[in-house]
């Protein structure tokens, strides 16, 4: 469960945009220290260090192949499944190193949920897709509790009204945007602390994309959200903090409004103004 007592970052005034300036944010949620990542001999991430703050949306932007997807996948150790990869450095989530030996990866992934670029619902019913994580983690004691949690997750993912009358139908019959929201519901069902989203809208049409963005914006009340996107407008719309990656390096990391209005680095400016990438 979320630590509700956690110091919340000061919320922007009701009238201003969410990117409005903030001076302080809460305690550090994820502390990445000198992270290097290798695919075989090739170094894909070079000396990344940054702090990610709770209950805000952090966006990772950069051109294709810049390492942003690789980086987000190091945060729930999803790269472990790729043979020949190696990690150096530390990733601390609430002060605990997730690469420490003896760490239970299964427990880590329960806390750090993930939504993928290509929606990947299981070839099961809509209900079973959301219930999957609850079942394997034994999170519901009775059928009614299970049904309740499934409903709650689908509501959080803004999908409930569209599917409530056909929960037993195959998830594969849903539209692309609905499938992606189903995957979000599935990730939320196990009550993660942090939600990683790897280009969740890149395969969707503008209307479906807008729904996902609204959802992301609302989810930060309850979760720490990290979103990878190649769409800069999307980063500007949904995120509070933005990290710009280029060739495996973290070029600049700051408040989103700062990155998009007054970047410190020339490279960042060139990228966001469309001079390359």
């Amino acid at each position: 469960m979320m630590a509700v007592t956690m110091v919340k970052p000061p919320t922007p005034s009701a009238t201003s945009e969410h990117q409005s300036a903030r001076t302080a944010v809460g305690p550090v949620k994820i502390d990445v220290q000198s992270l290097n990542f290798y695919y075989g001999a090739k170094r894909a991430l070079e000396d990344i260090s940054l702090h990610i703050y709770p209950n805000i949306v952090t966006a990772f932007i950069g051109p294709s192949g810049c390492g942003k997807s690789t980086f987000i996948r190091t945060l729930n150790r999803m790269n472990d499944v790729i043979p020949g990869t190696r990690v150096e450095g530390k990733v601390l989530i609430e002060d605990a190193d997730i690469y420490a030996s003896g760490l239970d990866v299964v427990k880590l992934r329960r806390r750090v949920g993930m939504v993928f670029q290509k929606s990947n619902p299981f070839p099961k019913s809509i209900f079973e897709n959301v219930a999957y994580g609850l079942r394997i983690n034994r999170m519901a004691k009775s059928r009614s509790e299970l049904a309740g949690r499934v409903e709650e997750s689908l509501k959080q993912a803004a999908l409930w009204t569209e599917v409530k009358d056909r929960l037993q139908e195959s998830a594969l019959a849903l539209s692309g945007g609905q499938q992606q929201r189903l995957c979000i519901a599935r990730a939320l069902a196990i009550e993660p602390d942090i939600l990683l989203m790897d280009e969740p809208a890149s395969a969707l049409d503008p209307i479906a994309t807008q729904r996902i963005e609204e959802l992301v914006y609302n989810l930060k009340r309850l979760y720490t959200v990290i979103i990878v996107t190649h769409n800069m407008q999307q980063a500007a719309r949904v995120s509070d903090y933005t990290a710009f990656f280029w060739l495996g390096k973290l070029v600049e990391y700051d408040r989103t409004d700062k990155i998009f209005t007054a970047p410190s680095e020339k490279l960042t400016e060139d990228y966001i103004t469309g001079r390359f990438g």
């Binding site: 299964v106 990947n120 299981f122 070839p123 999957y132 994580g133 394997i136």
Partner: protein, 281 residues
Amino acid sequence: MTRDTMRRGISAVFVAACGAAVLVALVPLAFILVFLIKQGVQALNMDLFTHMPKPAGEPGGGMRNAFVGTLILTGLASLFAVPIGVLSGVYMSEYRGTRLAVAVRFAADTLNGVPSIVIGIFAYGIAVLPFRHFSALAGGIALGIMMIPIVARTTEELLLLVPETMREGALALGATRARAVFSVIVPAALPGIVTGVVLALARIAGETAPLLFTSFNNQFFSTNLRQPIASTTVQIFNYATSAFDDWHRQAWAAALVLVMFVFVCSLAARFVTARVQRLRG
């Protein structure tokens, strides 16, 4: 103009050659089917399924024992070939690229190519000789050995078709590797795996050679797994080589039944595959 005409001409010749080759390949099948139906239908009646064989030379009777025997033998075969085959298929797809997986795949392909009579002799060596008599169990083992590589390879190939994103989705929800495999990946491939099993069944149901040394034959009705048992194929062989016209007719009818069984299995497999492909969209 001449070059273009040439090209068209050559193309037409090749298309015609392909068509002709298909025809030549289909002709024997058509002949077999037509001949089989013509001969088989005469003796095809309920007696064939419900009556026991009459003593040699006496007309009438049926092959109830043989049909039941074939059901028992194929059932026994799947009982041990399906779990072994599916699990080795899972191994080959999960640990693809490892030395053992490559070796298992090679072994499966080799086993698939071993003549069935050799498999019969092998089963004779391990399941008949030690007990000093033929048995249904030995026949089931022989057919099962033939079935394992087919089931293993189909399972492997179908599991490899399941997108990697399914596995990642399950792992990201806190599933262990085994959990991801058996709760998401295998179920996703299940219709295809079932198809593979059905086709393997159709294949072994028509085998005679592995049974000659193992389940042998039995003129009487038997469900005892430790006794010799009749089978449709061995019965067809015996009847076809006998001197009695009535037995010849029954052999034709039984052969027709076998072919229809294979036909129905293939149709069912096609139907399931088509449904799966629709689901994958």
